[in-house]
Symmetry: D2
Subunit: 144 residues, 4 copies
């Protein structure tokens, strides 16, 4: 079973801008929240992190804005572990408007486990390869 989570966010005034729609920073805040809950499912709970100083650090974010959310919309954020690639792992997110199932935003984030404050990248838990063999991908040479 691929780890997945679902969160729900109601659009507040401070999430919108004077164009009448939700601004880019609000979507990223919701994605960050969903990713934190997903990390919890992956055995990387927030409370432990603040003690062990072992943090999942985001290396790259990709966000596609497909349709705008508006004031008072309820937004469903679905996140899942998407790929395991050497010492990096990818999470994928889809944000839909609850009412009419419109796809609002899709996003992928690449992460690594980092030991702070040294900033040293660590191996991912070995159990992941066992539990999610379908997610294993060969590390690509970085193109960006």
């Amino acid at each position: 079973m691929i780890p997945t989570i679902e969160t729900h966010e109601q659009v507040m005034f401070f999430d919108t801008d004077c164009g009448g729609v939700v601004h880019n920073i609000a979507y990223l805040r919701w994605i960050e929240t969903a990713r934190t809950r997903l990390a919890d499912h992956l055995g990387l709970p927030l409370r432990e992190m603040s003690e062990s100083k072992r943090f999942p650090v985001v290396l790259r974010t990709e966000i596609d804005y497909r349709s705008p959310a508006k004031l008072s919309d309820t937004v469903r954020v679905r996140g899942r572990l998407d790929a395991i690639e050497g010492i990096r792992f990818w999470c994928a997110f889809e944000l839909h408007r609850d009412d009419d199932e419109t796809l609002l935003v899709s996003s992928r984030q690449a992460l690594a486990l980092i030991q702070m404050p040294e900033g040293k990248p660590m191996r991912l838990p070995e159990a992941w390869a066992e539990h999610y063999p379908e997610l294993m991908v060969r590390p690509r040479r970085k193109k960006h």
Copy 2:
């Protein structure tokens, strides 16, 4: 029955700062969220607002920071209608850590109903005086 609401917020990384505690802006965001839900209870729903352009506008915010919240704390925000004072009304908020009931933040906000885009203040609903007579206070001369 005085209108009250209760919301819950889990402290995320972006809510904390490098001092290791939740920063002032995060508390205000949670208070704004709680006040929006309280306005819903008061018969001022978000969805209608965006159509009628009749918004509850904050005139004044007072926040006392009493004890810091930390990463992964769950914070309970309690809000209530606190006073009705001419064309202004006050909401009061208390934020506690869920685990140990520590009072983190207390806050009051004064609001008025404003018709946008003219910015004209409107009378408060007459039903409020009937339903919440214990909240009626004589308008003070502004001291600030």
Copy 3:
């Protein structure tokens, strides 16, 4: 000479909401920025803080919203040390629209110097009493 600072902020999309005006959280962010620069003038530089873990911690914020700023306005934030009251000091802020000098927001914040992570309050620098005798006020009993 009372320590004062002045900062300038241009209103961005993410500072506004769908009511067409700047939202409360944006004003607080600008005030926090101004206060940090004011602390620098007061001999409490940001860089040292992150090393000494001695932080000026906000105890109370009061904000009066007087007139709304709009997209593309330039906002001038003026801050000053306003009062010294035992182990607390007050900073005062006024935000004006640059174009027409409209007063947008006024604010006061009470702070104390705290040694982290213990959270122990410290005496204010003795030089302050000497340099700013006109700002010394007798500590009040807390009313809130």
Copy 4:
């Protein structure tokens, strides 16, 4: 001459998190600010937008986090028009620490000109093709 801009941001407490480094949302806020100034250089000034309701809307954001910024760092944000691709245009951003020229973040954003509230995409100004022929690229089939 390719349109470019440069902005400078000082890292504030609220930009950092309890991991001791700047959080992802702060980088995006700085990029949004830089892009707004870049739009101004491109003949899409903020003040006009709020009147004409013709907004440059972000379709996609890509951010690579390369090295973390810390409290009190000054961050230089350089932005430029990067490519013109049918009705889309790409802006590119690089964020460096001012002190030591460390590359912190690189980012690209794809935008289109949208007439609000209809949400209709518009042709890009014809002058762009003349002025920046080296930026013209053939529209790709969308792969994401």
